[in-house]
C-alpha cells in the first residue's frame, strides 16, 4: 500500500470514527443518568441534518445549523417529557422498548415530512471537488470539519462535566442517585438534561457529516448500530473509551475495504461487536465492576 493510499484510508477512518464516537457518547450520557440505552440516538443525528437542510433556503448555513441543533434539543426534551418522565421507576426492558418505539416513530414522521429522498447540506468550505493535500493524499476540507467539530465537542463535554455545576450534578446523579437526591438534586431534571445534551451533540454531528455521508430519513438506524457497538467496545458509560473505540472501529472499517469487498464493511462492525461480547462483555476499556453496578 502506498503512503498516499494509507493516509487516504486513515482519514476516512478517522472521519467515520469520530462520528461513531459522538453517537456513542450520546448513548453514554443517557446511559449514565438512566441506566438505559436510548435506541433513538441515531434519530437525533438524522433530525439534525434534515432540519438544517430544510432551514437552509431561509438563512445562512451557520444559523441553520445552530437553529437545527436547538430544535433537536427541544425535540429531545419533549421526547423525554412525554414518554419517559412520568413513568414511575420503569424496568430497563420497558425503557428500551419505549426508546425503540420512539426511534420508529421519529423515522416514520421523517418520511412523511421529508420523503425518502437523499439530501445533503452543502460543503462548509468549497465544494465536493475541493481538496487539500496531506502528505501526498487528497482529502476534502469537510473531513477536517467533521474531525474538528467532533474533537471540540468531546473537549467541551469534558469541561462541562468537570467544571460546571450542572455537569457535576449529572455525574453525581449517575454515581449515586440517593445521595444526589439528598443534595437537593431532582433526578428527573437530570434525565431530561441528558436527553437534551445527547440530542444536541447528535444533531451537530448530523449537520457536519451531512455533506460527506448524505442524510436520509433512515440514516439513524445504521449509526445507532455503529454507535452502540462503539459504546459497548469502549465500556458503557465511559466516554474516553468511546472516543478510542470509535476511532478504532472507523479505521478498521476503512482499511477493511482494501482486504474484503466493500459490501462487507458493515458486517465488520457487527463481527467485532459479537467478538467483544463473547470475550469481554464489559468492553475493552470498561471495568467489569462498573458494568455490574448498573442494573443492566
Amino acid at each position: 500500500m502506498t503512503t498516499e493510499l494509507f493516509i487516504q484510508y486513515l482519514f476516512a477512518g478517522i472521519t467515520y470514527g469520530s462520528i461513531y464516537a459522538i453517537v456513542a457518547i450520546g448513548f453514554n450520557i443517557i446511559y449514565n443518568t438512566t441506566g438505559i440505552i436510548n435506541f433513538a440516538q441515531g434519530e437525533f443525528v438524522m433530525l439534525g441534518g434534515m432540519i438544517a437542510i430544510s432551514l437552509l433556503p431561509f438563512m445562512p448555513l451557520p444559523l441553520a445549523i445552530g437553529l437545527s441543533v436547538l430544535m433537536t434539543m427541544v425535540i429531545g426534551a419533549l421526547i423525554e417529557i412525554v414518554f419517559i418522565r412520568w413513568l414511575h421507576s420503569p424496568s430497563v426492558l420497558r425503557m428500551i422498548i419505549i426508546t425503540i418505539g420512539i426511534s420508529i416513530l421519529t423515522r416514520e414522521a421523517a418520511v412523511h415530512i421529508w420523503g425518502d429522498n437523499i439530501r445533503a447540506l452543502p460543503y462548509f468550505v468549497g465544494d465536493e471537488i475541493t481538496t487539500i493535500g496531506v502528505l501526498g493524499a487528497r482529502i476534502s476540507p469537510q473531513v477536517l470539519w467533521v474531525v474538528g467539530v467532533c474533537g471540540v465537542m468531546v473537549f467541551v463535554l469534558h469541561l462541562f462535566f468537570k467544571t460546571t455545576s450542572v455537569g457535576r450534578e449529572m455525574r453525581a446523579c449517575a454515581a449515586n442517585r440517593t445521595a444526589a437526591i439528598l443534595c437537593g438534586i431532582n433526578p428527573r431534571n437530570m434525565v431530561t438534561f441528558s436527553f437534551v445534551l445527547s440530542a444536541g451533540i447528535g444533531a451537530l454531528a448530523g449537520c457536519v457529516m451531512s455533506p460527506i455521508t448524505y442524510t436520509q430519513y433512515d440514516v439513524g438506524t445504521g449509526l445507532a448500530i455503529k454507535g452502540f457497538t462503539v459504546a459497548i467496545l469502549g465500556g458503557l458509560g465511559n466516554s474516553g473509551g468511546a472516543v478510542a473505540a470509535g476511532l478504532m472501529l472507523g479505521i478498521i472499517e476503512a482499511f477493511s475495504v482494501s482486504v474484503v469487498p466493500l459490501a462487507f464493511q458493515d458486517a465488520i462492525a457487527i463481527a467485532i461487536l459479537l467478538g467483544i461480547l463473547f470475550v469481554r462483555p464489559h468492553g475493552i476499556f470498561g471495568s467489569g465492576e462498573a458494568a455490574r453496578l448498573k442494573a443492566f
Binding site: 449515586n176 444526589a180 439528598l182 445534551l197
Partner: protein, 251 residues
C-alpha cells in the same frame, strides 16, 4: 417556634407499627439524639422526616411549613440535609467535587449557560470551589481534596459526607449513626466535629448507638422503643430513667 415539630407521627408496614404516635420538637441550635434498641423505629423516623418515606398519619413541620409526603429533594432544598448510616459517596468524583455538588442548591447558572460554559457562570463556579475548600478545612481533610472520594479511609469519607451536607447550608442536619464503623479515636473526632457544627448555628438531630458519644454531645435525648416514644429528657436524666435502664439492661 421550634425548628422541627413532629406531631403524632405514625407509620405502619402492613400490620407492623414501625413508628406510632411519636411527637417531639427540635429547638434551633441544639443537638438532639434519638436512641433506642435495634428495631425501635429510629431509621424509619428519619426516613419520615427527610421524605424518603411518607407517614401513614401525623405531621412533620419544618420551619413552620408542613413537609410530610413531600419529595426528598424538595425537603433538602428547604434546608434539611441528611447523612446515611452506610456512606453514600459519589464514586468517580474527588472529595472536593463531592462537597461541591452539595453547594449546587445555591447555583443559579442555567443548563444552557452552564453547557456553553458561559463566562458569567465562572465567578459562581469559583465561589463554590472556594466555599467547598473552606468546608474541607473546617473538617480538617484538606489533604484529601483531590483524591477520589471512594478511595479515602472510612473516617475521612464520613467527614466528606458531613462536608457535602454542610455545603447545602442546612438549618437542620440529620445524622444517621455518624459513628457507625468508626474506632474510638475517630468517634471522638466525629463528636468534636458535630459540636463544632452546632456552634456554627446548624441544628443537629442524630440517631446513634454509641452511648458515650450521645451522652457527651447531646443537649436532649428522645428514647424510642417498639416505635413509641418512652422518654424525652436531658442526658443526665435519661441515664437515671428506670424505664430506659430496663430496656437497655433488662429487668
Amino acid at each position: 417556634m421550634a425548628l422541627l415539630e413532629i406531631e403524632k407521627l405514625h407509620r405502619n408496614f402492613g400490620g407492623l407499627q414501625a413508628v406510632s404516635d411519636v411527637s417531639f420538637q427540635v429547638e434551633s441550635g441544639q443537638i438532639k439524639a434519638v436512641i433506642g434498641p435495634n428495631g425501635a423505629g429510629k431509621t424509619t423516623l428519619f426516613n419520615l422526616i427527610s421524605g424518603a418515606l411518607a407517614p401513614s398519619s401525623g405531621t412533620v413541620r419544618f420551619r413552620d411549613r408542613e413537609i410530610q409526603g413531600r419529595q426528598p429533594h424538595e425537603i433538602a432544598v428547604r434546608g434539611m440535609a441528611r447523612t446515611y448510616q452506610n456512606i453514600k459517596m459519589f464514586s468517580g468524583m474527588t472529595a472536593l467535587e463531592n462537597v461541591m455538588v452539595g453547594c449546587h442548591i445555591q447555583g443559579k447558572a442555567g443548563f444552557l449557560a452552564s453547557m456553553l460554559h458561559a463566562p458569567w457562570t465562572w465567578p459562581e463556579e469559583k465561589a463554590i470551589r472556594r466555599q467547598s475548600m473552606e468546608l474541607l478545612e473546617l473538617l480538617e481533610i484538606t489533604d484529601c481534596a483531590h483524591i477520589e472520594a471512594t478511595s479515602l479511609a472510612f473516617g475521612q469519607q464520613r467527614a466528606v459526607e458531613l462536608g457535602r451536607a454542610l455545603a447545602m447550608k442546612p438549618s437542620l442536619l440529620l445524622l444517621d449513626e455518624p459513628a457507625a464503623g468508626l474506632n474510638i479515636y475517630e468517634t471522638a473526632e466525629v463528636g468534636r466535629l458535630i459540636t463544632r457544627i452546632r456552634d456554627l448555628g446548624v441544628t443537629v438531630l442524630l440517631v446513634e448507638h454509641d452511648m458515650s458519644l450521645v451522652m457527651d454531645i447531646s443537649d436532649e435525648i428522645v428514647v424510642l422503643c417498639y416505635g413509641q416514644k418512652i422518654a424525652e429528657d436531658l442526658p443526665a436524666a435519661i441515664q437515671q430513667n428506670p424505664e430506659v435502664i430496663k430496656i437497655y439492661l433488662g429487668e
